[in-house]
Subunit: 202 residues, 2 copies
Amino acid sequence: MTTQKKAEAKRAYLIEQATACLAEKGYAHVSLRDIAKESGVSLGILHYYFASKEELLLAVISSYKGRFMEELEREVITAPSGEWSAALARVLCRSLQEDRKLHRLWYDLQVQSMYVPAFGEQVKDIRSRLHQLISRMLVRLQREEQYSLTIDEDSAISLIYSAIDGFLFQFLLDELQRPEEAIARFEQAFAHLMRTLFSSES
Amino acid sequence: MTTQKKAEAKRAYLIEQATACLAEKGYAHVSLRDIAKESGVSLGILHYYFASKEELLLAVISSYKGRFMEELEREVITAPSGEWSAALARVLCRSLQEDRKLHRLWYDLQVQSMYVPAFGEQVKDIRSRLHQLISRMLVRLQREEQYSLTIDEDSAISLIYSAIDGFLFQFLLDELQRPEEAIARFEQAFAHLMRTLFSSES
DNA sequence: AGAAAAACTGGACAGTTGTCCAAAAAAAGA
DNA sequence: TCTTTTTTTGGACAACTGTCCAGTTTTTCT
C-alpha cells in the first residue's frame, strides 16, 4: 500500500469516527477532543489531516452524501416498474431504523448550513442530487405508466421532495416522544403520502 | 407599576433580546455574553433573571410559541369559509418575509431538541398546538364543505403537517441559494400543495 | 429621613475550545 | 546502515464558555 493510499485510508477513518461523534452529540456539542478520543488518536493528528475543524466537518458532510445517496439511487433506480414507491419505502424504513442518528445529523447540518455559509455548498450539492433522483423517477413514471403532470416539472419535484423530507423530519421528532410502533406508523403513513402525491397529479 | 410587574417586563425584554441574538447567530454560536451585550446589561443580570442558560433558552422557545401561534390561530380560524387556505398562505408569506430568521431559529431549536432532552417538552408543546390547529381546520372543512377523509384523522393531520412544515423548511434552504423571486415561487408552489393535499382526499 | 429589599455591576473562577508547534517516534528511501 | 520524510505526540497558548458572588447602586417601604 503506497504511502498516499495509507494517508487517505486514515483520513477516511477519521472522517468515519468524526461522523459517529457528530451523530451522537450534534454539531453544537462536539469538540475536536471528543473526536480525537473516540478515534484513539491524539488531538494534533486531526490538525495534521485536516487544516481546521471546519474542513473536517465539510469532509463529514461530503462523505455522508456519498454513502446514503449511493444506496438510495441503487435501490430506487433499479426497482422494477410499479414497485417504485414500495422500494423507496423499504429503503427509508431500513435506513431510519439503522441510521436514525445519521438522519438526525443530516437535519442538524442542514440547519447549520443556514448559519455557516461554508456548509451551504455541500448541503446544496446533496439536495440537488436528491432532486435529480426524484426527477429521474418522475421521468420513468411518465414513460412507463402514462403518468402526467399538472404543473411544471420543477414545481412537482420541489413538492415531492418537501413532502418526503418533511415527513422524515417529523418522524424523527415524533420518535423521541412516542417510540412505540413509530416505524409501523411511518410505514403506513408513508404509503398514504405516496398515494396522495401520485394520484392527484394524474 | 408594581415591582413584580416590572421584573416580569424586564424578563420579557431579556427574552426578546435573547431571541433576536439566537435568531441571528443560531443556538450553536450564541453565548450569554452576546445576549448581555445585545441587551445592554451586564452578564450577571442574566443569571439574576434566569437560573441558567438552559432556562433562558427554554423561555425563548416558550415565548416564540406564544407569539407566532396566536397570529396563526387568529388569522386562520377566523378566515371566512372557503378562504381558508388563502388566509394560511397569506400569513405564511408575510411571516416568512418578516420573520425569516425566527423561522430558521424554529428549525434550529427543533433539531436541538433531538439532542437536548430538556428542549423536547417545549418543542412538543408547540408541535401539538400546530396539530390541533390543523385538526380544527379539518373539522371545519368537513362540516362546511362536505369534505371527507379517506384515512383516519390523525394520519391526515400528520400528513398535512409534515407537508406544510417540510415545505417551509425547504423554502428557507432554497432562499439562501436562490434569493431571487423566492417568495413568488413559494406562493405559487404552496397553492399547488394545498390543492394536492385537499383534492385527493375528497 | 432611614432601613430593608431589590436590581445591578464588574470581575473572578474553573473548565473548555480551536489552533499551533517543537520534538519524538516510525517509516521509507538511499 | 544512515538519512530523509512522514506520522504522531503531548502540551502550550490565548480566547472563550457558563457560573457565581462580594459589593455597589437604586428602589421601595416605613
